[in-house]
């Protein structure tokens, strides 16, 4: 499958959403790492098992604001290039995620096809 070998990090404080996203993304051929808390994403660096190719990040995490994590990742040279798609059940969050440098936004609930299309858009097949 063409997506084989692409790593996606999914951060959401709801374990059911994480499960569903893992199921969805693995069906599409991606390798998925999930995280319930923002800490892992916040402290991403190259040495720690490598960087993901793309991050799906919930806006409101329990105890943390996903937007602050996004801003931090987009301000570091090491992680700036990683596309971040933010997701939220508040459709009004669309504007605020633009401000923190997120590459895309999807309101929950979303269509799987729409999600996969966005991922593909930000993650063109790697040249061999």
């Amino acid at each position: 499958m063409e997506n084989l070998g692409k790593n996606i990090l999914v951060v959401d404080d709801d374990p059911d959403i994480l499960d569903a996203l893992q199921f969805t993304l693995e069906d599409a051929g991606y390798a998925v790492v999930t995280s319930l808390k923002g800490d892992y994403a916040e402290n991403l660096h190259d040495g720690n098992g490598g960087l993901p190719d793309l991050i799906i990040l919930d806006v409101l995490l329990s105890g943390k604001d996903g937007r602050l994590i996004c801003r931090k990742l987009k301000s570091q040279d090491e992680t700036r290039h990683i596309p971040i798609i933010m997701i939220s059940a508040h459709p009004g969050a669309r504007e605020s995620v633009k401000e923190v440098g997120a590459d895309d936004f999807l309101a929950k609930p979303f269509d799987v096809d729409a999600l996969l299309a966005r991922i593909a858009h930000h993650l063109p097949p790697r040249a061999i």
């Binding site: 709801d14 059911d16 569903a20 459709p91 929950k108 609930p109 269509d111 799987v112």
Partner: protein, 557 residues
């Protein structure tokens, strides 16, 4: 001789007739409720009828020789002087006038009557004034005016602090020289909610005094008793002995003496049958004694203020309830969306997997499940939107967009919900339109969902895009049950659902059309329906090409 005697007798008779006549007129003047004065051309009193004693407190001999203007209220003197000049200029002229005249006791009496120039009349040779006392009527008029003004001011705000502020400023100086509102707070302490005094320096004095001497709720007089009994406390004349009794110390006595109080009155403020505070009226500098009329006025004012307060309380409670409901809806809709998000992903991925495995029929079932999840999502969004609309918090993101695309997307979106209906799209809008793309899409979806829902026996829905010179018009036409004329004006109201017992029931929250109308209105457009029962319905709405000054800008609704 006989003739002479007869002549004398006749003269005597004539004299008696004259004397009778003079007695008659004198008695008339003395009994009269009116004051009659004769003035010379400079306004000097030549004659004053005995009734002036009763009306103004002066016996006529004390008025004669005085200039009439001296007794007239400073504010009315200019008017009176003009009147006299106009009269002197034209013999025989008569003019009516209203003025205030100072009674010997210092109070002002309202007088009304006519003044006539009879200087050229040989029998009179003076300017004649006839005046009656209209003070009672005047006071009544002013009181009614005052109360009407008070009512409108009190009802102009729902904020307590503003209500009290209005109240005390109304009462000073109309009723008293100073007025204060005290409210018993939740800690059982009396707070001065508002205070007004003719002399601002005294406001500080009263406030300082109160800070140093908080009112003891167990006091046997004053505010605590008024609140407990819901009865007024009225002291027509404050004597020094009284001050000595109430003062708690020498220093105290000094302060209360410095306030120079004449008369005092406290009336309770009652809300929902509970004494919550009091309005206190005090006279000092004016030396005015609060009388029966003032007491009646003060009680009426307190009554109206209590009503205003009750309204404000009810309004505040209602607002809190609405705000709690909206917060709840916001949280609930967010929570509901989370499981729907997971469900959708599973349904869609399973559908793909089954399709890949060639399980067509099961894949279709999952597609139906997915369509139902979309319906559920719309219901959740509608709930949230309706509560946001009411609070004016629905966000709009304006841009130029392609209306044809939005129509196409909405049709694609709604298509899976009905296998039977064929949705046709006719016409095209060449120019971009202006507004919130997603919200306009929501209007399409709402109208299409209704068209399908209310046409179970038909198989066609037609969407038409019409390019008018000034705006784009969208028509959504179905061939369903139609809407009776009596319902057509109500269908855009929130929570409106057709409840005709003969008709089959149609599920829904009854908010789709309400939200649609609000969205279109905020774009400066309109939405209408044309329908006949049994003949289907056509909904039309407009979308502007360019940004218009609309309620969108003002954040109304």
């Amino acid at each position: 001789m006989a003739t002479h005697v007869r002549k004398i007798g006749q003269q005597q008779n004539r004299l008696n007739v004259l004397k009778d006549s003079e007695r008659h007129f004198r008695s008339l003047l003395e009994q009269s409720r009116e004051a009659m004065v004769l003035l010379d051309l400079n306004g000097v009193v030549l004659y004053a009828s005995p009734s002036t004693q009763r009306l103004w407190g002066y016996p006529s001999r004390e008025l004669i020789g005085r200039v009439a203007f001296e007794g007239i209220h400073p504010d009315d003197q200019e008017n009176a002087a003009k009147l006299l000049a106009a009269l002197v200029a034209e013999p025989g002229k008569s003019l009516s006038i209203t003025f205030r005249f100072q009674h010997r006791d210092g109070s002002w009496r309202w007088m009304e009557g006519t003044t006539t120039n009879l200087l050229d009349d040989a029998g009179v040779g003076a300017i004649v004034g006839n005046y009656q006392d209209i003070t009672r009527r005047k006071v009544l008029e002013q009181n009614l005016q005052f109360l009407a003004h008070a009512s409108s001011l009190l009802s102009s705000s729902l904020d307590f602090a503003t209500i009290w502020d209005h109240l005390v400023n109304l009462a000073v100086p109309f009723i008293a020289d100073w007025c204060a509102v005290d409210i018993l707070n939740e800690q059982g302490v009396f707070d001065i909610a508002a205070i007004a005094h003719k002399d601002p320096a005294k406001v500080a004095l009263v406030s300082e005094y109160r800070q140093a001497h908080p009112i003891d709720v167990n006091d046997k007089f004053g505010l605590p008793v008024i609140i407990r009994t819901k009865q007024k406390e009225y002291i027509p004349l404050i004597t020094d002995e009284l001050l000595v009794t109430i003062a708690k110390s020498e220093g105290d006595l000094e302060v209360v003496r410095a306030l120079g109080m004449t008369s005092a009155l406290s009336v309770p403020l009652i809300v929902q049958d509970k004494g919550i505070g009091a309005i206190t009226f005090v006279t000092s500098e004016s030396r005015k004694r609060l009388g029966e009329t003032d007491v009646a006025m003060a009680e009426e004012l307190a009554h109206r203020a209590s009503l205003a307060l009750e309204n404000a309380t009810l309004y505040r409670e209602a607002q809190q309830a609405i705000s709690m409901r909206d917060d709840f809806i916001a949280v609930a809709s967010h929570e509901l969306k989370t499981p729907v998000t997971s469900l959708k992903m599973y349904a869609q991925v399973l559908q793909k997997q089954l399709a890949r495995a060639g399980e067509e029929s099961q894949s279709r079932s999952l597609a139906k499940m997915d369509a139902q999840l979309d319906k559920l999502t719309r219901l959740i969004n509608d709930l949230l939107n309706v509560s946001r609309l009411q609070q004016g918090r629905l966000e709009f993101q304006e841009e130029a967009f392609d209306l044809n695309e939005v129509a196409q997307e909405a049709i694609e979106h709604i298509r899976p919900t009905s296998e039977k209906h064929h949705i046709q799209l006719e016409g095209q809008i060449e120019r971009p339109v202006w507004g919130d793309r997603d919200r306009i899409g929501q209007v399409f979806t709402n109208l299409l969902a209704n068209a399908i829902k209310f046409s179970p026996g038909a198989d066609t829905v037609i969407v038409r895009l019409i390019a008018e010179p000034e705006r784009a018009v969208v028509s959504v036409r179905d061939f369903g049950i139609g809407i009776e004329e009596e319902h057509q004006s109500s269908i855009f109201n929130q929570f409106y659902r057709v409840t005709d017992p003969d008709e089959r029931t149609f599920p829904g929250l009854g908010i789709g059309l309400y939200i649609s109308r609000e969205i279109i209105r905020r774009h400066g457009g309109s939405i209408q329906v044309a329908s006949e029962k049994g003949q289907g319905a056509e909904f039309r709405f407009t979308v502007p090409y360019t940004r218009t000054h609309t309620a969108l800008d003002e954040g109304l609704f």
